[in-house]
C-alpha cells in the first residue's frame, strides 16, 4: 500500500458508521502524520500549515456535460439514440443482429459497438446495411467495464449522423458500471434473459431503475427452465414500476416486433 493509509476501523468502507463526518480526529492520523514526517525528514511539527480547502465539485459533471454535447449533436441530426445494456451472455448481440435485419431498408441504423469480445461479434452485425462504429474498450485498465460520454463522442465520429435515423449503443456486458454513466442517449434499455434468475432487479436496482424498456430474452427456453415470470415482474416493479417490458426470443424472433416498435417510436 506504500504510504497510503487505509483505515482498518471502517472509516473508508463503512456504510453504517455515518458518525464519521468530515474533519474528525482519527486516532490513526497522528501515527500516520508521524510516519509521513519521518519519511520526509521533518520532525518539527509537520502539521504546521495544514489547512482544509472546501470544494463542491461533482465528479460526474464533466462526463455529463460531454453527454449533453453528444445529445445535442444527435438532436441536430434528428437521430434517436438508445443505450442498450445487459449482463454478459444475455443475448444482446443476437437481439441487435435480429433488430438490424428487421429494420434494414426502413430505418437507417448506426451501431456503436462497445462490447466486442471477438472479431466474430463484429462480423455478426455486418451485412444489414447499418453503419458500425467499433469502440476499443481495452485501452487502459478500468476502461472495460462501461462506456462513458467521451468514448461515445469518439465513436460518433465514425458515424455519418446525417444518414441515420437511429443509433444503438451496445454497452459493455455489466449490470453495475454502465448505469452510472450518461453517454448522451435519449433512452436506456436493457436485455435480461430468463437464465439469469428472478432476483436480478433487486440485486442491481440502479441498473434496472435506469431503463425505460426491458427485453426479457430467451423466452424460447422457458419450457426447460423453472423461471418464475410473476416473481421477476414483481421484483422489477419494486425498483422500476414504469418500464416497458417485452418478452421475446432473439433466437426465434418471437415477440421482437414490439421491441422494434418501441425502438423506432417510444410512444408506440
Amino acid at each position: 500500500m506504500g504510504r497510503f493509509h487505509r483505515h482498518d476501523d471502517g472509516t473508508v468502507h463503512s456504510h453504517d458508521h455515518d458518525d464519521h463526518g468530515h474533519g474528525h480526529d482519527h486516532p490513526h492520523d497522528h501515527a500516520h502524520d508521524e510516519a509521513l514526517a519521518e519519511l520526509i525528514g521533518d520532525h518539527s511539527g509537520y502539521q504546521t500549515g495544514r489547512e482544509r480547502i472546501e470544494i463542491l465539485e461533482d465528479i460526474y459533471a464533466e462526463n455529463d456535460r460531454l453527454a449533453e454535447d453528444n445529445r445535442t449533436a444527435l438532436d441536430a441530426a434528428g437521430v434517436r439514440a438508445i443505450n442498450l445494456m445487459s449482463s454478459p451472455g444475455s443475448g444482446k448481440t443476437t437481439l441487435l443482429q435480429r433488430t438490424l435485419a428487421q429494420l434494414e431498408g426502413t430505418v437507417r441504423v448506426g451501431v456503436i459497438e462497445g462490447d466486442i469480445e471477438t472479431p466474430l461479434d463484429a462480423e455478426r452485425l455486418n451485412g444489414f446495411g447499418a453503419q458500425i462504429s467499433l469502440l476499443n474498450t481495452g485501452n487502459g485498465f478500468g476502461g472495460e467495464c462501461h462506456l462513458d460520454a467521451p468514448m461515445i463522442a469518439t465513436a460518433m465520429k465514425g458515424l455519418d449522423l446525417s444518414e441515420l435515423d437511429l443509433v444503438i449503443i451496445e454497452n459493455v456486458g455489466n449490470l453495475v458500471c454502465p448505469a452510472e454513466f450518461e453517454v448522451g442517449e435519449h433512452a436506456k434499455a436493457m436485455v435480461y434473459s430468463i437464465t439469469e434468475g428472478e432476483d436480478k432487479p433487486l440485486k442491481y436496482p440502479v441498473m434496472f431503475r435506469s431503463v425505460e424498456a426491458i427485453c426479457i430474452n430467451k423466452m424460447d427456453l422457458a419450457p426447460y427452465l423453472d423461471f418464475d415470470m410473476e416473481l421477476f415482474r414483481r421484483n422489477l416493479a419494486a425498483v422500476n414500476p414504469t418500464a416497458r417490458v417485452f418478452e421475446l426470443s432473439a433466437r426465434t424472433g418471437e415477440g421482437v416486433n414490439e421491441w422494434i416498435s418501441w425502438l423506432t417510436d417510444p410512444n408506440s
Partner: protein, 122 residues
C-alpha cells in the same frame, strides 16, 4: 475492476486542479449509496491512480450518504434499506424520486506545504 478506476482518475484530476501545487494530505468525497461504489475497490484504485503523481500518499476519505426516497404523492421521506424497493413505504405510491444517495462529490481537500517540484500529473 469496475468503474472505481475511472472515478479515481476524474477525482485525481479535480484534486490536482484544486490543490494549486500544495501537498495533498487528504481528499474528502461524499459518496451516495446508490453510486454503487465498493469502498475497498475505491481505496485500492486510488492508490494505483495516484502512484508516482503529485497526489502520491494523499489519503482518500469516503463519506457515505444514505439513499433517501421522497414520495411525490404524500411527501414522506424514507431512507432506503438493503431491500431497495422504490415504492413509497408510507402510502405505497410508485411515484417517488431519489432525494439523496446519488452524490459523488469532492467536498474538501486537506493540504500542507508547497510541493515545489511537482512529480507529475495524474
Amino acid at each position: 475492476m469496475v468503474h472505481e478506476v475511472s472515478l479515481c482518475r476524474a477525482l485525481a484530476a479535480s484534486v490536482t486542479r484544486a490543490s494549486k501545487g500544495r501537498r495533498v494530505e487528504a481528499v474528502h468525497v461524499d459518496v451516495g449509496q446508490l453510486r454503487q461504489i465498493v469502498p475497498d475497490a475505491m481505496a485500492h484504485a486510488w492508490v494505483f491512480v495516484v502512484r508516482n503523481t503529485s497526489l502520491d500518499g494523499a489519503e482518500l476519505r469516503l463519506n457515505p450518504i444514505p439513499a433517501v426516497l421522497a414520495c411525490d404523492d404524500c411527501g414522506a421521506e424514507i431512507e432506503l434499506g438493503p431491500e431497495l424497493g422504490f415504492a413509497c413505504h408510507a402510502c405505497g405510491s410508485a411515484s417517488t424520486h431519489v432525494a439523496s444517495g446519488e452524490e459523488f462529490t469532492l467536498t474538501a481537500i486537506d493540504v500542507s506545504e508547497d510541493l515545489g517540484a511537482v512529480k507529475g500529473e495524474p
